[in-house]
């Protein structure tokens, strides 16, 4: 029942997202008329930056309209932030239904520095597939939703400095450890459909036989049932899982290209982007991302993870 429900939903999202991407999005480009011009306050418009960043948007009026983005947020008194509600430990709802997680800790601090109150946030709960849409349609000001920076996404949103880095890992039973990709020869590797891990192994190691699952929980069930020699997934996630499940260890801790995770603003929102980058640099100086790690991730990752493998301060890799 569960696999089916989610599978259908996922297929439909993919379908709709595809259709939208193909036709509708390009049809309704962000044009000048959706944000009323804010003349009050704001810094000097950085029109040049905006134009460089957004080749599709040569119209300077876009940047002009965005010039008052932080002023507009301050006027509103609330910053609208897109987060995940079902991706622990990055963005989820705790037992009481309150937003929690690594992304949320950082987002709240950003809200505090912007508006003086860490609770002056209007949270929007997003799905992986619609994060870009939320920004493009101006439903939110910022995305803090474990947003991996990719070239495709960078064409449609503006990423700020990263606050986290991820790579792939392989978890395996301590009794039969996989400590290197070469150990996988002749074995089955468990992956979850549609993930970076699946793509990576399909492209880089086509000789390794993959056992694919729709759901994360199914995949881990398969691992504990011994149906595969190991399971490949984002290393952060694996560290957390291995910490909760004695007898398993992340034998391969860092594999493939390192991806970075960053907050994003609407394409061309140069003023807010600039403010956010300044903010992230300032946070880097006080090592705030480490604090966020200690608060949200350390309890889950325990001491098996070295925070330096994950945390990025001030956008410096």
């Amino acid at each position: 029942m569960k696999g089916k429900t989610n599978g259908t939903l996922r297929t439909m999202t993919a379908l709709a997202a595809g259709l939208l991407a193909a036709g509708l999005l390009t049809a309704c480009q962000p044009n000048s008329n959706d944000t009323p011009a804010q003349s009050s306050g704001g810094d000097t418009p950085r029109e040049q930056d905006a134009q460089e960043q957004d080749a599709r948007e040569p119209d300077a009026s876009q940047a002009e309209l965005e010039r008052g983005a932080t002023a507009e947020i301050r006027e509103r008194g609330k910053v609208r932030i897109a987060v995940f509600a079902d991706k622990p430990p990055f963005g989820y709802l705790d037992e009481t239904g309150a937003n929690a997680g690594f992304d949320i800790v950082i987002a709240k601090r950003v809200a505090k520095d912007l508006l003086g109150d860490e609770n002056a946030v209007e949270w929007a709960h997003v799905e992986p597939a619609n994060r870009v849409d939320y920004l493009e349609s101006d439903k939110v000001d910022l995305v803090f939703a474990n947003f991996t920076v990719t070239p495709e996404r960078s064409e449609r949103v503006d990423f700020a400095l990263p606050y986290m880095k991820v790579a792939l890992g392989v978890v395996s039973p301590e009794a039969a450890p996989i400590n290197d990709v070469s150990d996988l020869e002749g074995e089955q590797l468990i992956v979850i459909k549609g993930t970076t891990a699946e793509t990576y192994f399909t492209n880089e190691y086509p000789e390794i036989e993959l056992l694919k699952f729709d759901e994360i929980s199914e995949a881990f069930q398969a691992l504990t049932d011994g149906r595969g020699a190991g399971l490949a997934q984002d290393n952060t996630f694996l560290f957390a899982w291995a910490n909760e499940n004695p007898g398993y260890a992340v034998g391969v801790g860092s594999l493939g290209n390192q991806d970075v995770i960053a907050p994003a603003v609407r394409k061309g929102n140069a003023e807010l982007l600039e403010w956010l980058n300044e903010e992230l640099r300032a946070l880097g100086e006080e090592r705030f991302i480490h604090q966020a790690y200690d608060e949200a991730l350390a309890p889950i990752y325990g001491d098996v993870v070295n925070p330096e493998d994950l945390v990025v301060e001030g956008g410096e890799l």
Partner: protein, 225 residues
């Protein structure tokens, strides 16, 4: 398995949240269904028109909802509307609008079918009593059409309740999404949570939809003639 995982379901907090999700699901469904019934009646009767142009337009509208997935309509209104016109609809409103527009055409088509299935002589014999067209509709055609359309309409109603879960994609936190949030929160410690939560949601949907279809059966039996 360290435990059966049912405690994820039985916690007061989680049950409260599932209840709130259920309330959203019901509110969304009931509003959409009510609007669909009211507008569907008008739409359905308009569909019986002999005016070719009007019929063509109505039919086009119907096909637009049959051909284009509902989720696309939802995204079109929620994201596209904001992009194109700066119409900042919240997710719940966008869902109500899209589900109602869809429900109206589906309900309307069912009503059209029901109205057209009433034998012409029923209309004639009412006309022979000197009744006006409006009164014939009110007292003769619609009451009979309602009986004929009920099974299909109830089917649509249960479909609409189930389809309301699409609203998660525009940020509405309905029961299915609450379930997923609880499951994911319990992922590490309690992998069996997903079984219990989904079982619970399954039972809830069943509890809502089963009486509706029972009601339909009873009405059918009662109205049999």
């Amino acid at each position: 398995m360290p435990n059966s995982g049912i405690d994820a379901l039985l916690s007061v907090n989680n049950l409260t949240r599932l209840g709130q999700g259920l309330a959203v699901t019901l509110k969304l469904s009931i509003i959409s269904i009510a609007i669909s019934l009211a507008l569907g009646l008008i739409y359905g009767i308009a569909m019986t028109t002999k005016n070719k142009l009007l019929y063509g337009l109505l039919k086009l509208y119907l096909e637009a909802f049959r051909v284009i997935p509902l989720l696309v309509w939802l995204f079109l209104l929620f994201f596209g509307g904001a992009r194109a016109f700066g119409a900042d609809t919240d997710g719940f409103t966008a869902s109500v609008i899209v589900f109602s527009m869809w429900g109206t055409v589906e309900m309307g088509d069912i009503i059209r079918g029901a109205v057209q299935s009433i034998p012409a002589c029923q209309r004639l014999s009412a006309e022979a009593l000197g009744m006006t067209k409006a009164r014939i509709y009110r007292h003769v055609i619609i009451p009979q059409a309602v009986r004929r359309f009920t099974p299909a309409a109830i089917n649509l109603v249960t479909r609409m309740i189930k389809t309301s879960s699409l609203a998660v994609f525009v940020g509405v936190t309905e029961i299915l999404r609450v379930g997923k949030q609880i499951i994911e929160f319990n992922m590490m410690k309690n992998p069996m949570a997903s079984f219990w939560i989904y079982a619970f949601i399954f039972v809830v949907y069943f509890i809502i939809c089963y009486p509706v279809s029972r009601l339909s059966k009873r009405l059918e039996a009662k109205w049999e003639y």
